[in-house]
């Protein structure tokens, strides 16, 4: 069974998530081809070819200067028709989701999303999906071809590149009707002062449970007491209370500290995906039924305004002892 894995480029390099999906499918015995679209991508192709795959297809064209999915979807549609790909698999991202949708409509196919894994059984393919707010695993099959698959973000991690290089082959975009319907511009990063969340050993994060930006000081105080770093959930960035560099979650930083303390964070799936790889997770929330209370190690039911100063004082006392 042949699979095509479009590789998303982030800061000019292949996204780790895309490489992870490529290796995952290759590891399951699918003939897995990476697809790179862009200009001047020979070097990236060499890099991708050292990961486990059947080969790398590269399409170099000025048409891919846009971030919009249309030209990529057109090329993928052609490749499916010409080369008989039965599967198109992507790692979920903002752009990959739109690409998957456009490929599916172009090929009259369906998309299975939030995949945690994929299983090949002879000629048929099963998707294992995280559903019901991540409480359930749903097994589903595609009843039409091609199968379009979106893995959960950060579900598949790539291994180290090997010494062998898979073949690299050029393909051409022939589609002509690529009038740009949506312009997408990547804004320069205005946020500075990266908190180095990805390497932090201890993180204390604040969320919507905070009533004002000033209350982030309570979070900061506990982080200081523990010698940790401060993070926030998406709503605080959206409200302008904290820079994006401090955001923990699917579109922020995916973290893996030894200790993660979530203060006033309900635990939406986007945040959950961002903290799952942490060692210990402690949640402080007034709502004992908040989603985070079902995926933490210690859930403290209470008001963070009284709890955080108390916990910071106790931690300081314990460290002095």
């Amino acid at each position: 069974m042949k699979a095509l894995i479009p590789i998303e480029l982030i800061d000019g390099g292949p996204s780790q998530d895309s490489l992870g999906v490529l290796e995952r499918l290759a590891g399951q015995g699918l003939e897995s081809w990476a697809l790179l679209c862009g200009s001047s991508i020979q070097e990236v192709a060499q890099q991708v070819a050292r990961h486990r795959c059947a080969g790398v297809l590269i399409a170099e064209s000025e048409s891919f200067a846009t971030l919009a999915p249309e030209p990529r979807a057109a090329l993928i549609g052609d490749l499916i028709a010409q080369r008989g790909f039965a599967v198109v698999a992507l790692a979920t991202s903002v752009l990959a989701t739109e690409l998957a949708a456009q490929v599916a409509v172009r090929c009259d196919a369906s998309v299975q999303w939030a995949l945690t894994s994929i299983e090949q059984d002879g000629d048929s393919l099963r998707a294992i999906r995280a559903t019901h707010g991540d409480a359930m695993r749903t097994t589903a099959t595609w009843t039409s071809a091609p199968a379009v698959a979106l893995f959960r973000p950060h579900e598949c991690a790539p291994g180290e590149p090997g010494t062998q290089t898979a073949p690299i082959e050029a393909v051409t975009l022939t589609a002509t009707d690529l009038s740009e319907r949506v312009t997408i511009e990547l804004l320069p990063g205005a946020d500075t002062g990266a908190a180095a969340l990805d390497t932090a050993d201890i993180i204390v994060s604040g969320g919507r449970g905070l009533r004002s930006a000033d209350e982030l000081d309570l979070v900061r105080d506990l982080a200081d007491a523990l010698g940790g770093t401060v993070g926030v959930s998406l709503p605080l960035v959206d409200m302008g209370w904290a820079p994006r560099a401090m955001q923990v979650g699917q579109t922020g930083t995916v973290v893996s500290p030894r200790l993660y303390i979530a203060c006033g964070i309900s635990g939406q799936i986007q945040h959950k995906i961002g903290i799952e790889k942490s060692g210990l997770i402690v949640a402080i929330n007034t709502d004992k039924d908040a989603p985070i209370m079902s995926f933490c190690d210690l859930g403290i039911v209470g008001d963070l305004r009284t709890l955080l100063p108390k916990l910071a004082a106790e931690v300081r006392a314990a460290r002095r002892a």
Partner: protein, 253 residues
């Protein structure tokens, strides 16, 4: 300006689109999902600035009518609810075919969506529906401006923020940080009952040529493996428990 808002019929827990149109057979609460209140609010604000009407479009069981009344109470002008037992097994591709046909008939200048609980499926539905209509889609926006026949907005993506822009008509998905929804006034509630709600079926939309509704077969639904074993404590025990836990794991000496 004609603004459509797609209202989802959600079950009580955070479930995803395919499930909302029901594979598990739970009862539907008659309330407007919180995410949708933001899309309705945004539509009302655009109408306040530009004039026009706000039409609610929904696909789901008739039990969802209460949610539509709530959105009408906020100020929407009218609603269309498509209910059909054949939709019980519809997947996202199928729903997008039905929604595309509904929107084609209404021909709004702007169609607003809110994300589903899990984001991914919501963004998929917007993008698939737009692709079928041959219209542009702006997904996962946290701001939206309508001016000079164009829609523009900003969203957060993995590599940084995106500034998006396209010509109307278009589809746009707005997240819950975009505004603070108004509450329903007593007057609004009273008026809502008098506003038109059109109840239709697949046959009304497609005659006997209904589109493919599902290309998905669900073979199993099982609980997710448990990865942590949460221990819940009250604020009184908090300090003792936390210190003990941190010592057990050698985070505190």
């Amino acid at each position: 300006m004609k603004i459509a808002v797609c209202i989802k019929m959600m079950t009580g827990a955070a479930v995803d689109a395919a499930d909302a149109f029901q594979r598990v057979g739970r009862t539907l609460p008659s309330v407007l999902p919180a995410f949708d209140t933001h899309a309705v609010e945004e539509a009302l604000r655009i109408r306040e600035r530009n004039g026009g009407e706000v039409v609610l479009v929904s696909i789901g069981a008739r039990e969802g009518l209460g949610g539509l009344r709530q959105a009408l109470g906020m100020g929407a002008d009218r609603a269309i609810l498509l209910s059909d037992p054949a939709l019980a097994d519809a997947d996202t591709a199928g729903i997008s075919r039905v929604l595309a046909a509904l929107l084609q008939q209404e021909a709004p200048d702007l169609t607003l969506f809110s994300p589903w609980s899990g984001d991914i499926d919501g963004a998929l539905l917007v993008a698939m529906t737009a692709a079928r209509l041959g219209l542009p889609a702006l997904g996962q926006l946290r701001s939206l401006d309508i001016a000079d026949g164009r829609a523009s907005g900003v969203r957060q993506a993995e590599a940084g923020n995106h500034a998006l822009s396209c010509a109307l008509p278009c589809l746009a998905e707005v997240n819950d940080s975009i505004n603070k929804p108004r509450s329903v006034s007593l007057k609004g509630r009273a008026q809502a009952n008098a506003k038109p709600v059109k109840l239709i079926t697949l046959a009304d939309l497609f005659g006997d040529a209904a589109p493919v509704l599902s290309q998905t077969q669900i073979t199993d639904i099982a609980p997710a493996p448990v990865t942590r074993n949460p221990r819940l404590v009250s604020d009184k025990e908090a300090a003792t428990e936390l210190i003990a836990l941190l010592r057990d794991h050698r985070i505190l000496a």
